[in-house]
């Protein structure tokens, strides 16, 4: 959180939401999508 605030110009609420969003994504998807990790979801 302090790294995010220092490096990315975020305030408390912003940093908190970034962390929450990534954690929520990881909980659902099982991993965090990155340049090296592609998560595919089949449609329909």
């Amino acid at each position: 959180m302090s790294w995010l605030k220092l490096e990315c110009g975020l305030d408390d609420a912003g940093a908190e939401q970034v962390v929450e969003y990534i954690l929520a994504g990881r909980a659902i998807l099982g991993a965090v999508p990155t340049q090296a990790t592609v998560i595919r979801r089949t449609l329909l």
Partner: protein, 443 residues
Amino acid sequence: MDEIHAVADDKRGAHLALSLERLDHLTGKRLTRIGLSATQKPIELVAHFLAGNDRPDPTVVQIGHRRELDLAVEVPGGELGPVASNEMWAEIYDRLAALATRHRSTLIFVNTRRLAERMAHHLAERLGKEVVAAHHGSLSRKLRLVAERKLKSGELRAIVATASLELGIDIGAVDLVCQIGSPRSISVGLQRIGRAGHWRGAVPKGRIFATTRDELLECAALVRAIRQGDLDRIAIPEAPLDILAQQIVAMCAAEDWNATELFRAVRRAYPYRDLARAQFDEILEMLSEGIASTRGRYAAYLHHDRVNGIVRARVAAVWRQLPAAVPFRRMRCTPYLRSPKARLSARLTKTSPSKASLATSCCWGTLPGESGEFKPAVFWLKTRRARPPPFHSGAAKHRHGPMNSQRTSEHCENKSARLFLVRSLIQREVAARGFRRNELAET
């Protein structure tokens, strides 16, 4: 040439490079080229682009000056979601209005023309009609000039703009730049925020507003990239053939060419340095033989005398090269190669058939037009009218590569939702038009 970086990375740059070689050919001299560019990575590539191929490398004068920036991401009070709600927009307008009253004049960048108009309207309600203006490429020149003049003289508290105010224009005493949503690339972000604080000793102040969760990540990555001095890597498109075909027709319309000399002239332009003769010959063949269709051959603009190796323009090409306007930015275009009945045609973006319909106004270079007959994936431009084109499709850009390496990522769910939306739009459109299945496959 000012602001080369703005055109070097798309097809307009290829158009420009060929035009410069044509200019040299016309004057019979090697004109001195001086280019100005924003800091780019790598700057040598921009230099080569400027110089062309058979000239010595240009001298690069790099000031190498990095400005201090006062940057921060603004997050609305409520929790961000996949899309911004009306309450959230209201909150953003309030915050912008509050920031604007605390500064002398505020420049607000948005990504689409539609949003520029909406935002200007809402801010005018909060700050007063006289002190807020919108500025984008679809507004008439007169309106834009009025807005620019008012901004310079300090009559405006806030101006909402798209990329139209990004370059060039001296914009006076702007002391705060707000960016709504992600600017999608580092250089655009840097350029936009750099519009603030244009006086000695001033520190440009930029506030980036995140409206969705995905944008929040992108904005955070952008701020980090800028603080680390990371820049977008410029990518010059390799030999775009549509532009080449367009320019060959124009060149031959001006005078007769020997095919080999024409090839050499074209290769002097940087994007075409590796153009193979075989490929060039194919283009010549297409332009001289025309394109076969069910109605016979069309689009044969050149006459290629293979015995003497001379390329001449047919009558159709001579007048057709006159309105050879600058190609669209980041839009698929097949410049007048497939035009029926001596009219200009423009190929719109892939998703357009679902959004645009008959009589949608659009713009060909600087000439406004109206879409006529619909053929799969192609709208034929019907008329050219003197009214402003309100066709704003495809105004916002995709995210640029290097920003991805800042560990941002789009949420998968979001993407498939968008895909689903596009699909259902197309399906609805298909139902409305009564297309047959195979026609859809062609689009």
